[in-house]
Symmetry: C2
Subunit: 391 residues, 2 copies
């Protein structure tokens, strides 16, 4: 009867699929969420009613405590809005902050599917270059100046400064301070996509961007997708009370009530049962082992003229191919060798990155990743053999 798939993930037999930045199915806390749902419904029908527009008070209170522990500074409930995940949150914010034809700045490279959301909203995207240490303050300053000189002001800057997708880079504290100073001076809102913050493997990351300024200009987006379960379609944003109220007062919330309300009650029960801290600790250990396996396998199997940085957290390794190779052109050969990835150009709003590709280590078991790295190495060498010699 059910010919259509239930889930988004579509694995092809015989291919090591490094392309999917999804959590591993075996790391989803099925039993814990079943217990949390039972508790949420045992408390009565509130989890099934139209939800408070800002999100259920019980989840907001739990998030405020969670964010306070994470940030080491007070977080008040009036600064938190519950979303249906970061994608939905970005879409809602674009509706509130922008109109088609508006300009926005995006870190380059950036999460490719966020770019699609912005493009659907009709935004003109202006890339701001990052280097091996993350978003470059000098490039940001230049972009802001250029826009100002032509009488335009960007509606926001989108960035993932902490173990970003696709690069895995964690922006240093000094750059965070410089970027916040620049955007504050230009009166440019920052959308800080911060979904990987809890998934650090070596050392905790620096505080979020809002900690480096007056905080009113930063909207930070978090999510349960990476630390609990993406199917819940549940996240949050922390922002000024004014931004929170603009979200709360939008027509779609007025009509339907709070987003992902049932899932929000389930997550609140999961947190009330004290399960989240332990679960995240378990995820950190599991993903760290996967990252270490992948990095070791890349070092062993990839040719010496490939390059990558060891990510301190998150889901991804960003690999540079040997000089002259194009990752999109290389993909069919790689897949013929039984390994896949996402070509770098998809993350580059202004072009470029065609010699890079993104590997996700979140989905695959360690043994599979070692096999995939070996196939990648063979495919790169095969591509090299096929290339004409330099003139």
């Amino acid at each position: 009867m059910s010919a259509l798939p239930d889930i988004q993930l579509a694995l092809r037999p015989g291919i090591v699929e490094f392309g999917w930045g999804h959590p591993a199915a075996e790391l989803l806390p099925v039993d814990g969420l079943a217990a949390a749902t039972a508790a949420a419904l045992a408390a009565g029908p509130n989890a099934l009613a139209y939800g408070a527009e800002q999100g259920p008070g019980r989840l907001i209170a739990a998030l405020a405590a969670w964010l306070e522990r994470q940030e080491g500074q007070p977080v008040t409930a009036e600064r938190i809005f519950v979303t249906a995940g970061v994608s939905s949150g970005l879409d809602l914010l674009c509706g509130l902050l922008t109109r088609p034809g508006d300009t926005a700045l995006v870190e380059a490279p950036a999460y490719h599917l966020a770019l699609r959301i912005f493009q659907d909203c009709g935004l003109e995207l202006i890339p701001v270059a990052a280097d091996a240490a993350g978003l470059r303050p000098d490039a940001l300053g230049q972009a802001l100046e250029t826009l100002q000189a032509s009488g335009r002001s960007p509606r926001f800057l989108y960035t993932t400064p902490t173990f970003g997708n696709p690069t895995g880079i964690c922006l240093a504290a000094e750059r965070r301070a410089a970027i916040v100073a620049l955007t504050e001076a230009a009166n440019c809102v920052v959308l800080e996509d911060d979904v990987y913050r809890s998934l650090w493997y070596d050392a905790p990351p620096p505080p979020p961007l809002a900690a480096y300024g007056r905080t009113e200009g930063v909207i930070r987006l978090g999510s349960f997708s990476k630390i609990l379960a993406p199917g819940l379609r549940l996240g949050w944003l922390s922002a000024s009370p004014e931004i929170v109220q603009r979200c709360v007062l939008s027509g779609v919330l007025d009509s339907g009530g709070g987003q992902s309300h049932f899932a929000a009650h389930v997550a609140a029960a999961f947190m009330a049962q004290g399960r989240l801290e332990a679960h995240v600790a378990q995820l950190r250990a599991a993903y760290q082992a996967r990252r270490d396996t992948l990095l070791a396998a890349l070092a062993y199997y990839l040719p010496g003229d490939c390059a990558w940085l060891a990510p301190g957290g998150g889901f991804f390794v960003w690999v540079r191919l040997p000089e002259g190779m194009d990752s999109a052109a290389f993909l069919p050969l790689a897949e013929a060798h039984g390994v896949s990835f996402v070509p770098g150009a998809r993350f580059a709003p202004g072009g470029g990155c065609s010699d890079y590709f993104r590997l996700a280590f979140s989905l695959l078991a360690p043994a599979e990743m070692a096999l995939g790295a070996e196939r990648l190495g063979r495919a790169i060498n095969a591509a090299r053999v096929r290339r004409p010699p330099a003139a």
Copy 2:
């Protein structure tokens, strides 16, 4: 700790709140949904993964069978898209079909919070008059002609032809055919808000608008909010495969996967357990009793120069005040008498309806509604005493 509310409903002590078009808490199937969630999670982690963009195949298959029984004609899976409720579906469709500044036609009066969603999207709304039999084909024809004469074409017509909010009117088959013919001739998409179809109390309604034409021009929106639980934030739309694919391919779906994915698995399990038909039958009986109580109480307590139609389904009774009374101006006095409602002007995109108000019979227990009607009658008489005599 949790100072903020969990749910949207905010009842004031001492007031009979006819204003909220919410399902009654005691009619939410808490135990059935707990069993369905347990079953959905016992099947493995798929309910927690990123969902298929179109919605889980298992829910789409169940919906196809459900809609087929309802419509008496085949419904294929490729025509169904799972939404996060009608509000979210309308917002998504506005993003796909419109740009700010575009024009849309809306039945008048219409669901006031849908109007807010359209206004948030920057649409110019042109009202099309309804009478006691629902949307008027002659008014629609005139509106389409006027627009065409000025070189504009509306992006869509929004209507709730079946036990509509706020009027409760069910459009007759002949008008359905006429409206579809007019919109097809004008190449104007129809957004048919059909959330009350299953909640009929006297006789099943005529088929949906799509049954009266080539079906490609009608997007019909359904929801689990009224027949299962609004907190699930779960609905569907049935449309041409092309519209379904445009929804599927939107950036926000590509990024976050299917909407309300966990809730969708819970609803699919509820349907697979055979619970939905029996639950809807129970709702019909319960809401019919509430409707009958309210209508009897209105007939008993309201002055003879008030008027209303007996709705054959849905949640609402649309009441006209005695001549010269304004419902918004009357509301404070009504609340001072311990009864509340939504003034009619809020449902009127082009003005008017100020002598009407909307009563919801979905939320309140029968005894409370009788008390509310009695208070309404006293308040209306009190307002009459206060009014200056006619010159």
